[in-house]
Amino acid sequence: MVNLIIDDKQVTAPKDSTIYDAAKLNGIKIPILCHDKKLKPFGACRMCLVEVEQMKGRQIPACTTPITEGMIIRTATPEIIKARELVLELLLLNHPLDCPVCDKAGDCDLQNLTYDYKVDSNRFSDLKFQHEIDYNNPLIERDMNRCVLCGKCVRICDEIVSYGALTFIDRGIETKIGCEFEKKLDCEFCGSCISVCPVGSLLARPFKFKSRFWALTKHNSVCGYCGTGCNLTLGVKDNKVLTTVYDENQGFHKGQLCVRGRFGYQFINSDKRLTKPLIRKNGTLTESTWDEALELVAGRLKGGSAVAALATPRLTNEELVVFKKLLLDSVGTKNFDHAAGYAHAALTEGFARSFGTSASSASILDIQKSDLLLVIKTDSYETHPVVGFEVNMAVKNKGVKLSVLSDKRGKLSKLPHAQTLVHLPGSEVAVLNAIAKTIIDEKLVNTHAASVPGYAELEKALSAFSAEVVAAQCGLTAADIKKLATDYASAEKAMIIFPVGQAYTGHNADLASAVANLAILTGKYGKEGCGVLCLSEKNNSQGAVDMGFYAQNGGLNGLQILDACTDGTVKTLFVAGENPLTSYPNRSKVKKALEAVEFLIVTELFLTETAAMADVVLPVCSFAEKTGTFTSADRRVQYVKPAISKNSQLKTDFEVFSDLIVKLGGQSSSTPAVLFGEIAATTPGYTGMSHESLKSEGAFAAVSMKPAFVVPQATASVAAEAGKLALVTGSALYHSGTQSQYGEGPMHVCPEGYIELSRADASTYKIAENDLVTVSSAEGSMQLKAKVTPRMPVGVAFAPYHFTAAPINTIWSGAPVTLVSVAK
């Protein structure tokens, strides 16, 4: 700590602080336009000028000057105030002063400072800028006439998002922010630039003219898309969520969001939301009352050994538990599952066997504290973009080494010094086994590893996986595998990240065991910056696992339930929020099952294709309308409360399940808070938590590990046959599950399904970008738009699974790799 005097006040601050940080830490406000605490100091705006006595009273910028022992700083002498007024006058000289029509008004740093410093006249005169305004972008409106050139947008896009879409162009008075060669903005649309813009140069187009900033009520919430568990502030007016508001103090990610978090909120107030229960009468779904619908559902559930249920991991922990109670105690069935029954297997089977717990042994916070990150599949960025930002920052700012093991290249492969090993699709486990074998052969094994149960078996089983053999099978070189192994083993702290989800069938229990073996062999778990982080797909996937909402004790799992529907053993299927018709593999099989089942109950926000097949559809609430907790991928339990009051016609899933329990003669917890008390008492790691204690900040559920070596079953890699491509499925950057289809933001940027091909394959099959191609597999055939990208290896194609209009499960039966032929 360094001692210094700011404005006659004796203060202390950490050694690496700037004057600005030190002042802020001690509650002294220095005005500034170009600073954000996530970004590196830049010193562009000159508003933060201060005087340092040791520097002979010279005015220096507080944001770029490091503090030294005994500094005497003054932040508000008459000379400084005069200088700041001058800076403001010069900024306002070219500023259009169109505050009445600028959406930033009320939240504008320039406006606030102008008011604070009472700059109401200007001694200079000049023309205003006449830059062309970009109205065409669906999400980000750019009006460079208002720009003060603080460079925050440029820096956040480079330093954190690592995309580099924006840059300073031209020089001198003509300098402006734009895309290279003044091309149109075509980026990830995370909106980070909008969030940091101190003026109204970059604005969220979906929010344009919707409300003034001061009229919004701000509600803290937790994002309802992926498992990262980002915190959100929803801007609400007239009981409508109109926007997301940036708060740099929020969450581990400091307010940083991705496209779906920032722009995907429209589904909450969508006109397409269901408002009344629907009951199938004479073949058509007709509006009904809750009494009638619940009575009907309760009647079907009564004494139902032929009942099964699928739930979405977007439900809160409380809802999942009350649903489980309904099924186990009131209905009496063990057949319930979530996420198609396999998307959680890495946790429930893989980690459960290898670490003795169904949870990740590392947190997202470890990413920046590590020395080496091993990312399995570049898709970690696409499934969990904000985790991707953490990786970006770790690599770019902290010098963390990055190794990527993937079947295609991706955003993460572009990071500085990133090492990407592109293997043949489907061979992850074999490569990981080869890495494990190299670690053993090169004697890089941790001293405690030999005493972990299963070591001898693993060593024996790995004998078939020498780097040379695996390299030849997987399209890699033995040297690469060996280098990755030695890098990983010799790093002091190393962490493995891999995504799981409904589109990643290969990311199963075996993959989890294979990565866990590496961590256990080298002792890289249970320490800061080490461990294995399994990125579960949905916002409460980890919660669903923690609550035990999956097939156990002989219950049927997700896919078995569908089979049982087809063969008639399951007669009533209760689907809470899932959309299996789009998101589960093998569409024709799912369709047959849903048609075959006698009675289909669906609770949903929208009339999805699955809901359209139902006998009863119950309209329920989104995350912004209910109380409960979500558990993120790294087991951070976070509290959500209603940001808007729900439509009086709707019930939350909690109320629906509770009502049904009562109708079936049981007793249900009165509120989610009471139920969470029970959860905290019975769930390992949740001890001591309560809604009250989670209100201000989430808490990590402790993970206790009992490591063991498990021999993972390696699947053979799939090489493309002549005339066929190996299709891998996955998640698109802009989407999460099928819910993001109802968020307008994601649909503006990525409105339809596509198939991504390498340039070589595209030229072989004479396919150009945006061509409609027919993709056929053994399952069926469908038409998809082609996207030709340099990241795909030859012989491999990629398709995302989110779209109802282009359901990839038409051609995908759930295999990690599907052989397809493409034709124009």
């Binding site: 505050c99 009445p100 029509v101 008004a105 109205y135 344009k208 003219f209 009229a215």
Partner: protein, 133 residues
Amino acid sequence: MNPITPIINGMKITFKHMFMKPVTLQYPTERPKVAERYRGLHGLKVSHSKAKCVACYLCPTVCPAKCIRVEAGEDANHDKFASVYEIDMLRCIFCGYCVEACPVDALKMTGEFELANYKRSDFLYTKERLLEK
């Protein structure tokens, strides 16, 4: 004093007033002259054949009676305009803060004071009714 005197004095005044201009107006045949700064019904000023209002929401923000409802829209030139502008005259207290707050001088208060109506709904003045004729 002669008891007749006060009566005569009184009658004098009465008689004098019979030849003076009456203070009362024969409303509605006669109309009062409203002072220029009188705060009557609001009017939305028009310039270049459209309302000057840019829907900045300062009037609903400042309004102490919360009687103004504005909704902004985007026109073909991407400019902001008030797609909805409503004043609830039953709530309005005619303080004139809205006029004072207007940054673009789009709002005025006219001399119109005859605001009686038969139905409650008629007191809701829409943009159409408020536009300066």
